[in-house]
Structure formats: C-alpha cells, structure tokens
C-alpha cells in the first residue's frame, strides 16, 4: 500500500505527495506526458534528444547538475515511446534545491547552441553503443516498422536513424519545449522524508507562477487491425541465429492487459515457466528464450524471442514456439500454475515498495494512466484474472495474421 495526497496548482501542475518517514531522503519525480510517439515521422528521436538538453542549463541557472550535486543530490531521466521522466533523490534537508532546479527548467531552458551540438554527438554515440555496435542491437529498429504501419510506435525512442538526430536544430528544440514542457502536461511526485504542507508551500512558491501553457489534444493514428502474417529475414555479423515474433495486444489501460501479462509470466517467468522448461531444457531447441510485453499506453506488443541451438532449423524452432502458444490458447491453465504466477506478481509488488524512487515513479505513472490510487489495486486486478480469460486473451493474441516474425540469421 502506497499512501499519498494530491493537489493541483492553478496552472494545471498535478502534485502527489508520499510521506515516508523511514528515510532521511527525499525524491522529486516529474513525468512529462510526451514520448517518442509524439514525434514527427521526419524528426524521430527528438523526445529523447530533448531529454538530454534538459540538463544543458535553464533560463536562470546555467548548470543543472552542479548545484544538485553540491547539496548531495543525484538525478537521472529516461524517455520511452510514451513518457519522459525526470527524477532527483537528495537529502530531505535540501528538498528546496530540487524545486528550484526543476521549476526553472519547466519555466524555460537556456537553449544553448553548444549544448545542442554536444548532446547531438552524445546521443549519436548512444545510438551506436546501444543499437549499432552490439550484436542484435538493431533488432527493434527492424521489428517496430514491421508491426506498426500507422502508429508512431513504428520507430524506437532513439529514432529511426542517426541523421534525424544530426539534423535537429535549435528552432525545433524551442518549439518542442513550448508544446510539451508545460505544468499542465506534467505530474510531479514528491516523496520520502517530506510533509504535505511544506510541499504545498514549495510547489506554490516555485511552480505557481509558471504559465500553464496549452494542453493540446493528442491525435495519433490508430493502428489498423493486422490482417496478414508478416515475415522478414535479415542477415548480420552475429554468432547465432535468432527468432523474434511480435503480436499486437491490448493497451496498458485496457481490460485484457492483465490477462496478457499473466500469459507472458506463464510462458516465461522463472525457471518453472513453459518456454524455459519445455523448449530450452526438455526439447533442447534453444539456448535462450523469453516472452515479454512492451507494456505501452497505446496498443502494445507481445514479444517472443529466442536463439535456436546450432543444428536446429528456424522452421523447427518456430513450430515449437507455436506449439506452446497454441497450447495456452486452447487448454485452460491448471489452477496451481495460475496461482503460481499470481503469487509471484503479489510478491513483486511488495518488493517494489522497498524503494522510494520506485514508489514515486509508479505513482506518477498511474496518475498518468488516470488515477494514482489504481497502483494500490494493481495486485487485485491480477488476482481477479481467471483461467478462461487467460485462454481467451492468448487465443486472441496468438493468431498468425496478428504476428510479425523476424529471422535474424548469422552470416
């Protein structure tokens, strides 16, 4: 149970406060409701590049990191296809420094040309390090456009290609800021050794006079139902063949999400899971096999990926995967197996409450989904899923015409 209080400033900034007196630290987490899905198809990677620029100095404060480190704080941020999330942890005695820094960069950035130039290079090196200079690193650059033909999930957060990042200019950066970095587009969670009244006072003081900005409607194309099986084969300098299958599945806020999540747990969570036990250990077809969800806010993907052992043909490997997917789509999951994945989910939720930062991030994310209170009913939603729902969700997801399959072959 994660308790919290909530208030909204006149400019639309939502603030959630989670008091946790067991720690001497405070955390300030700000989620901006903007991600790679909000980018123009010709300027991909921009939300993430922008995240880097948020550390390049703001209108009144030339350096973001230095004053924070000076008061014993640490920070970081991440960008996904859906959101951009910034967080600070610091000794609670210095909470106000976090308000000062975060409010100034919400007010306005410095927009330094030097910062843009350097961060373009840094992000290009990140692109190389994570996507290009790694075996299988580019697989999501290939899978996304296979699965999505209309929706902007067709590109990865890092962007479609290096030149989209290299071509970003300062006017684009300013326009992006004006459009998305407003109080009305943000959720702030303050947690730890803090008091509600003090957080209210600091919020009014530092964020209260930031102009609200305009919350523009999000008009994203809806992905058509996939009507035909998609297959592609690529060859690359990798040591082992790999197979990737992705299926369209319900969005994070849709009812079927919980059943789909448990499907992935039954298939792939822990050493007792079906893919691990049947395909890796018993049939000895794979050296590595996993299933997971992208968990995105719009309709997401159910992913199965594996590396067949030498001598196992791709066709045989794929048929073995289908056999497991068909089984969970036709046979009811035994009670003990369902209880198992539910127990695991329950203990995972309890363990996640050990971390102040995790709690703050979760509150912000669930508030974005609609209501932070739902974080506390999350476990119950998993417990309520029946074996019939698991079967029908699996049956709906695991259809050939709903699948995209990539053979990633060793040269």
């Amino acid at each position: 149970m994660v308790s919290f209080e909530r208030f909204t400033l006149a400019n639309g900034l939502k603030v959630l406060v989670h008091e946790d007196p067991t720690t001497p630290m405070a955390v300030v987490n700000i989620l901006y409701d903007v991600g790679a899905r909000d980018e123009h198809p010709d300027q991909t990677g921009f939300a993430h590049l922008f995240e880097h620029l948020m550390f390049g100095g703001s209108v009144n404060i030339p350096s973001y990191d230095e004053p924070l480190q000076r008061v014993g704080g640490e920070n970081n941020a991440f960008t996904s296809n859906d959101i951009t999330n910034y967080y600070i942890t610091l000794p609670s005695v210095n909470l106000e420094t976090a308000f000062w820094l975060e409010s100034d960069r919400m007010l306005n950035l410095a927009f330094s040309e030097k910062s843009l130039e350097v961060q373009r290079n840094v992000v290009c090196e990140e692109f190389k390090q994570r996507y290009l200079n790694q075996p299988y690193g580019d697989v999501w650059l290939k899978l996304r456009p296979m699965a999505y033909k209309q929706h902007p999930y067709q590109w990865a957060t890092i962007g479609k290609s290096l030149d989209h990042i290299e071509n970003a200019n300062i006017n684009d950066v300013k326009a992006f800021f004006t459009r998305h970095y407003n109080p009305s587009n943000a959720i702030m969670v303050v947690g730890g050794d803090v008091k509600l009244d003090e957080v209210k006072r600091l919020s009014e003081k530092w964020f209260g006079n930031i102009p609200a900005g305009e919350k523009l409607p999000r008009l994203l194309p809806i992905e058509d139902d996939q009507a035909e099986e998609r297959k592609e084969t690529v060859q690359a300098n990798v040591p082992l063949d790999a197979i990737y299958k992705v299926f369209h599945m319900p969005a994070r806020t849709e009812a079927g999400y919980y059943a789909a999540d448990l499907v992935s747990d039954i298939l792939s969570r822990g050493n007792s899971s079906r893919l691990f036990r049947n395909l890796l250990k018993d049939k000895k077809l794979f050296s590595d096999i996993n299933a997971y969800l992208t968990g995105s806010l719009d309709a997401g993907l159910f992913v199965v990926e594996g590396k067949p052992l030498p001598g196992v043909s791709m066709e045989l490997a794929e048929a073995a995967i289908w056999e497991e997917l068909d089984r969970i789509s036709t046979e009811l999951v035994p009670d003990a197996e369902l209880t198992k994945v539910k127990n695991k989910m329950e203990s995972t939720m309890v363990f996640s409450e050990m971390s102040l930062l995790d709690k703050a991030m979760n509150l912000a994310y669930f508030e974005l989904l609609g209501d932070a209170n739902e974080l506390n009913s999350e476990t119950q939603k998993y417990l309520d899923v029946s074996s019939e729902e698991i079967r029908s969700q699996a049956k709906h997801i695991f259809r050939k015409e709903n699948s995209s399959t990539l053979y990633y072959l060793a040269n």
Binding site: V59, E74, N94, V118, D288, T339, K344, M354
Partner: protein, 424 residues
C-alpha cells in the same frame, strides 16, 4: 518575486546512521547476521560461501557449482525446485563473484517455512545431474559466443587477464573451458565449499524471532562440517603498464578500459582515494564526464572506479567512444590525470564532491537490504563499523593537498594497462 538565479540555502548531511548487524552462531558453527528494518513483510536471506581451492586447470568449477545449485538434489529435480520456489512467489538466485558464491532467497515472510527447506536442500544436497550439466555447457558456450562479439565484454575480459593473470580474478575463459567441466569436479568442489563453516548467512528485512528460529531449524542441524577449507589467496604485483589492442575492423565505437592494480578497502588510504576517484570519474559531474562527454561529445558515458577485492584492489577508467575519436579520448584522459596530479583541486570543487559523496552514502541506505550490503563490505574485508566512521570523516575533512598527494601516489598513467577493443 522570487529570485530564481539564487540557489536556496542548503544544509550538510549531519547524521548517517547504520543499522548494525546482530551476530549469532548456530550449533554447527554457522554464522548468522541479521539486519532488521522496514515495513514490508519480507526478508532477503543470503548464504555466502567463500571461494576456495582455486585451480587454473579447473577454472570454471566454482562458477558452475554455484550456478547449478538449482539443478537438482537427491530428492528434488530442477523442475521441482523451480516449481516450489515460483509457487510461493519467492526468488532464488545464485550469484558467483570473485571472492564469494552466494545463494539468495527473497521471500514474503508468510512463505518462509515453505521456501527455506528448498534452500537447505540445495546448499547441502545438490547432485549436479549430468543432463543439467550438459545443458549448462551447451547454453553457456552459446552465450559466450554472443558476448565475444561485444567490444565492452572483450575489454573487461582482457583487462582482468592483464591485471590478474590466470587466477580466478583474471582467467581468460574460452569455450573449451566449459567442455572440461565434469560432474566429479563439481561434486568434489561442492562438498568442500558448501559447508557451514565456509558459509555466512545475512538476513535482512522484517526479521522476526521466528525467522531466526526457522533458520536454526533448517540450517543449524543436519548440516555438518566434514573437511578443512582453504580460502583462495592470490598475490599481485603492480604491472609496468602497456597497450593491449584488439582491432575490430568494422567497429563504430572502441571500448577503452585502462587502469592498474591498487589498494583495497583494508588500506588506510582507501577512503581518500575514493574521493580522488570521484573527482576524476566517479559521478556524473566528474572531470572525465565534463570533458569527454559534456564538452567533446566523444561518448555516451565515461567513468572510473576503485574496486576492492579480498586479495587486491584495482582502479580503472572505462568508456565506449566513437572509433574516430579513440586516440583523442585517450589523450584527454591522460590530460585529466595529469591535471589532478599537478594542480590542487579547488575548495569549491572539493566541497561539491564532499557533499555529493555524503548524500550518495545517505541515499544508499534506503532499506534494511542496503544496510546489509554496507555490512557485507566491511565484514568480508575484515573491518568493523569504524570503517564507515573513518570514511565519513575522511570525506568531510580531506584537503586539496591530500587529494593531490594520493593522486600522485596511486595514479600513474604510464603504468596503466591500456586495453582498446575496436579501432584507434
């Protein structure tokens, strides 16, 4: 109107309180330390075994024995072990590191009585079935072949070997080493290493009286000592330095890893040298990050670290940089080390690093589990809680002259081993 250009007043971290571990020894000599705290009704129990009997002819036996503990006992198959652990929503992990092999149970307290007997079985009665060993060998070789395509992995592997040779810290693994594993090796190693007297149990979380009672019930009896154990001992000399270049013709980036053998936590200079390391490359605002990432844009990240092992310490700097700027990056690294040795750090920078390190220390004590991690650091170095008192004092009081002296004493770019994988 508020003056947004003016930083709010700030305070220094005054008190850093550690939850002290409570010791207990069971009838068979098993040492237990408990660290109690937190609201969540769960515990983490770590069974930590010292690595022993290192033999370069059997370099993987310690690793494989640890990894295969889940894979079957005389009563339970790997399937049954996995089923039971997963059924109770618990997590059972094996972890192999340079000095210790660990089995960790994460569980809700309400399931402790059901999960502990499984842990007991695997640490006292593992049998290493041949079919499971075959699976391990097959899959590990595949994983290794993928890792060998990663420049970062190659740079770590080469660097460790250059520093530590064919000891457990440095052995240069190849696929053939997996083929040399045998059931006999693992069974023999298991009998010697997995004994109560070679084990330390660390319990953290909501530790209650019956938590300890249950541990005593399962681990205090029917688990006896039978052999003498000899913990690994290695001795290393400071190398003379050199370049180790693995060319990768089509590399977009080069992995750089450079450094040398250094002191470990038991040395009086260790806390001071950690301050030096932090200034140079130990945090986001460090000099290496400020220069090589934030000014030049050569890399996504660069950092340095001082690592404490039982038989050695070492210092390293690591980064992945654009292949075209690899040489320029190395030049800048050398420049930063020279500056650190030739010019005293300003009071302003030192004050910042001080506060950052104290804040970071405070932040690293998030829950009982992290307090337990702090205890492990000192316990396995043969130190007591005075170490942290001394560490905090050093961070608070070290001056520019001492920082400079330590940089000169311990950082010598010419005697660094310099591993580069990619292009230069």
């Amino acid at each position: 109107m508020i003056d947004r250009a003016l930083a709010p007043a700030f305070g220094e971290v005054e008190n850093i309180e550690l939850i002290r571990a409570k010791p207990l020894v069971l009838a068979n000599g098993l040492k237990i330390f408990s660290i109690e705290g937190g609201e969540q009704d769960l515990v983490r129990i770590e069974f930590i075994f010292s690595n022993i009997d290192y033999d370069p002819a059997k370099p993987l036996q310690t690793f494989a024995t640890n990894t295969m503990l889940n894979d079957g006992t005389s009563e339970l198959s790997s399937t049954e072990i996995a089923d039971k652990i997963d059924y109770y929503g618990a997590f059972l992990q094996t972890e192999y590191a340079n000095d210790h092999s660990t089995v960790t149970l994460f569980t809700l307290n309400k399931h402790l009585a059901n999960t502990l007997p499984i842990v007991k079985a695997i640490v006292s009665d593992s049998i290493f079935p041949q079919v499971e060993l075959d699976t391990l060998i097959r899959n590990q070789k595949q994983k290794l072949s993928v890792s060998l395509e990663k420049n970062d992995f190659l740079s770590r592997k080469t660097f460790s070997h250059v520093l530590f040779g064919d000891t457990l810290y440095g052995y240069d693994i190849s696929a053939a080493d997996y083929d040399n594993l045998s059931r006999d090796q693992l069974t023999t190693y298991f009998k010697s290493a997995y004994q109560p007297k070679n084990c330390t149990v660390i319990v953290s979380g909501k530790v209650k009286e019956d938590t300890i009672t249950l541990i005593d019930k399962y681990f205090g009896k029917d688990w006896e000592n039978s052999f003498d154990v000899k913990e690994n001992e290695f001795h290393f000399e400071m190398g003379s330095g050199g370049e180790h270049y693995l060319e990768k013709a089509d590399a977009l980036q080069s992995a750089i890893r450079i450094g040398q053998v250094s002191i470990n936590r038991t040395h009086a200079d260790f806390p001071g040298l950690q301050v030096v390391n932090t200034i140079l490359g130990g945090y986001f605002g460090s000099r290496l990050m400020a220069n090589i990432r934030e000014d030049k844009g050569f890399t996504y990240g660069i950092g340095s670290a001082l690592v404490s092992l039982k038989n050695a310490g070492y210092f390293f700097i690591a980064s992945e940089v654009g292949a075209d700027v690899c040489t320029a990056a190395l030049t800048e690294i050398e420049k930063e080390i020279t500056i650190l040795k030739e010019q005293p750090v300003t009071e302003g920078e030192l004050a910042l690093v001080r506060n950052y390190m104290l804040g970071s220390m405070l932040g690293s004590l998030e829950n009982a589990l992290s307090h337990a991690d702090k205890f492990k650091n000192i316990y396995f170095s043969g130190l007591d809680y005075d170490y942290y008192k001394n560490y905090i004092n050093t961070v608070r009081n070290i001056g520019p002259a001492e920082v400079q002296a330590l940089a000169n004493k311990y950082l010598n770019f010419n005697s660094f081993e310099k591993v580069i994988v990619g292009k230069k």
